[in-house]
């Protein structure tokens, strides 16, 4: 398993996809953060927390995970991957863990950067900032969500197999379906895998004051359930599929 994990992380580091996706995520997140902290007034700590926690990295980590396994079919490298690691269950476990680890690393870098830049801007503007305990609180929640989304992306990619379908499907579901559900059926939306449950774990509130999320503990259990179900489905399909 250690060798498989090392190999998966080496794969991540040896293409430009990883750097390009993460660079884009950092760029967009920084842009939104700078605009928000420059143009808005912050007089509640909860608003600052929401700004620091709500970056775009999660979406990119989700896509990265999906591409990590669906890309194996796209580039037809799945054959050499399975030849090198014929135990397909171990293979998908290694991929899931690897992309969870990658998510954690990326989230740590991005969250640290956002908190640093955001705090500098807010301090310069004499706006409310957060203390170190709050930073740690945001950080560990963000890291768990990032690990979860990396793993979830791999599971979705293993099920869908088509890289384009996986990416388009994830974008539509996370950006359109889930957000529409928040308007139509918020009690259902808060259990959703990509925004609903993770936002509950991050323990943030938004300005409207009406959107209720799951308690962090419940959200964590729901997220575990999503990963477990999608991992099982992905593993069964990967093991059964003929690689022709």
């Amino acid at each position: 398993m250690k060798a498989l994990l090392e190999a998966e992380l080496l794969k991540l580091r040896t293409t430009r996809t990883f750097a390009a996706l993460i660079g884009t995520a950092i760029g967009i997140s920084l842009l939104v953060l700078v605009l928000s902290t420059t143009l808005s007034d912050y007089d509640r700590e909860q608003d600052v927390r929401a700004t620091f926690a709500g970056d775009f990295t999660g979406l990119f980590i989700l896509l990265l995970g999906a591409m990590g396994i669906a890309g194996e079919w796209r580039h037809r490298t799945i054959t050499s991957t399975v030849l090198a690691a014929p135990d397909r269950l171990k293979l998908i476990v290694a991929k899931t863990i690897s992309y969870a680890v990658a998510g954690v690393v990326v989230s740590f870098v991005v969250t640290s950067l956002l908190i640093l830049v955001g705090t500098v801007i807010l301090s310069a503007r004499d706006q409310t900032t957060i203390d170190f305990a709050a930073v740690v609180d945001i950080m560990w929640r963000n890291l768990i969500v990032a690990a979860y989304l990396g793993a979830l992306g791999v599971c979705v990619g293993a099920i869908v197999r088509s890289q384009v379908a996986a990416i388009v499907g994830l974008l539509i579901f996370s950006l359109v379906v889930e957000f529409t559900l928040f308007g139509l059926a918020p009690d259902v939306a808060k259990y959703m895998p990509f925004n609903g449950a993770p936002t509950g774990l991050q323990d943030v509130t938004f300005d409207d004051g009406e959107t209720e999320f799951l308690d962090p503990g419940v959200a964590g259990l729901v997220m575990f359930g999503w990963v477990a179900v999608l991992f099982a489905a992905g593993a069964v399909l990967l093991r059964r599929r003929d690689l022709t």
């Binding site: 190999a7 040896t14 430009r16 490298t77 054959t79 050499s80 022709t244």
Partner: protein, 297 residues
Amino acid sequence: MATVEVRDLSKRFGKVEAVKNLSFDVQAGRVTGFLGPNGAGKSTTLRALLGLINPTGGTATFGGRRYDELEHPSATVGAVLEDASFHPGRSARNHLRVLAVTGQHPPGRVDEVLKAVGLADAADRRVKGYSMGMKQRLGIAAALLGDPEVLLLDEPTNGLDPPGIAWMRGMVREQAAHGRAVLISSHLLAEVAQSVDDVIVIANGELRAQGPLEQVLGGSDGPATEVAAEDPEGLARALQAAGHAAVRSGASMVVHGLSPAEVGRIAGAAGLTLLLLTPRARSLEQAFFELTGGTDE
């Protein structure tokens, strides 16, 4: 026990029975050609051997163990499949590094195999800039990474230029000389004839022939003789009377199942003058087409 054993292997894709009760062995120290027309089931068989597809029935093993049961698969079996693909954005060296890490091979093996296949100078270029022949060499480098006991090569000369093909021939002979079993699938029969010891011929998913090259080349209908006579009609009648048919081939004719001496005796008994009397070896192509029911047109 043979190095590679296939027993009653079957694979069905929906209504299509791609491989039907196929059985054969591949021995260590020999190069075995795996022949058959397109769609014969060669690639399906190789993929079943490698655990990439789940057989409907039968077994395919290496030293008695399925591929996924091998303790160190890439140190036991090296494979180059027809559609070997690589991430276009990754360099050859990094592709091999990933495989070396997965297979727990020493990092130094990467440079060794890159040098062995002649890619050392291009090792750090991204694969998307590689020619088809270079990709084929990279596939072979990946197969050799674990210094395996068995090599499975599916159409390995595809995309190789003549020097590359010559290199491939030398490489497979060298591997066999070191005691490794080499199974090489190809539709380029001329290539196979020059580098294999044994052949396995399949068609429509079924075994048609297996054995040493010379034995399969000889075919089931024995020798063949090319003959021309002053009176070809008379010779045809004499042969027919002796229970043999002659097939016209330009100005001469070919008699299957008779040696030149036997044809000469029949002609002499009939008082015919012969202008040509020579043994005609069946080429591997001829044997192949006869075995597989194809044509050489």
